[in-house]
């Protein structure tokens, strides 16, 4: 099971980080960054399976794929933005972390505008 692998890696890395932290805090930070990257790469395959399934369902239901693709892009932006924010917060730069989160929200807002517009148009059409 993937979850056992992930938890094992995380606990192992946590112990090694504590060992290195007294002497070399910068290397300890890099080690925690590497562990985060490895876990993210491991989880990414599972996310890919879910997205392919959703794609098939969207094709069957004839939803036009433009909105579906933007939703997937938004998920990707949130995925990476959250990772970057947590890593910078881990390194002690909370100000930078909040900047990354703000940027991610703005980019997601920009991506979501077409969906909102089409939603509003359909609502206006419904009103007699």
């Amino acid at each position: 099971m993937v979850i056992l692998q992930i938890v094992g890696i995380a606990i192992l890395a946590g112990i090694l980080i504590i060992v290195i932290k007294q002497e070399k805090p910068e290397l300890a930070f890099l080690l925690s960054l590497i562990t985060g990257l490895i876990i993210l790469i491991l989880v990414l395959d599972q996310v890919g399976v879910v997205i392919d399934l959703l794609n098939q369902l969207a094709e069957k239901a004839e939803i036009d794929l433009i909105y579906f693709n933007t939703i997937i892009k938004i998920i990707g932006i949130a995925y990476i933005g959250e990772f970057g924010a947590e890593i910078t917060r881990d390194s002690g730069e909370t100000a930078l972390a909040s900047k990354i989160e703000m940027a991610a929200k703005i980019i997601i807002m920009i991506l979501a505008i077409p969906i909102m517009l089409s939603l509003i148009e359909t609502i206006i059409k419904l009103i007699p």
Binding site: I9, L12, A13, L16, V19, I20, E23, K24, E26, L27, A28, L30, L31, L33, I34, T35, L37, I38, L40, I41, L42, L44, V47, G48, I51, N69, I72, K73, I75, G76, Y79, I80
Partner: protein, 64 residues
């Protein structure tokens, strides 16, 4: 790929801290500093390569 990578980086970290202790006792502080920088650079190269892999995977999965 993953567990061995963590062990490699942890090994580098421990080795560098040991060598630093030895160098500081031999009154060669500047070499200890250079050694620390070298270690950080080696680990950074591994990290950057891994970040590149992650971003490529994200690009393919999320269809950026």
């Amino acid at each position: 790929m993953d567990i061995s990578l963590i062990f490699k980086i942890a090994g580098i970290g421990i080795l560098i801290s040991i060598f630093n202790i030895i160098l500081t006792q031999a009154e060669k502080e500047e070499q200890a500093q250079v050694l620390t920088i070298a270690g950080v650079i080696i680990v950074l190269m591994v990290v950057i390569q891994l970040i590149g892999d992650l971003f490529n995977d994200v690009r393919t999965v999320f269809k950026f």
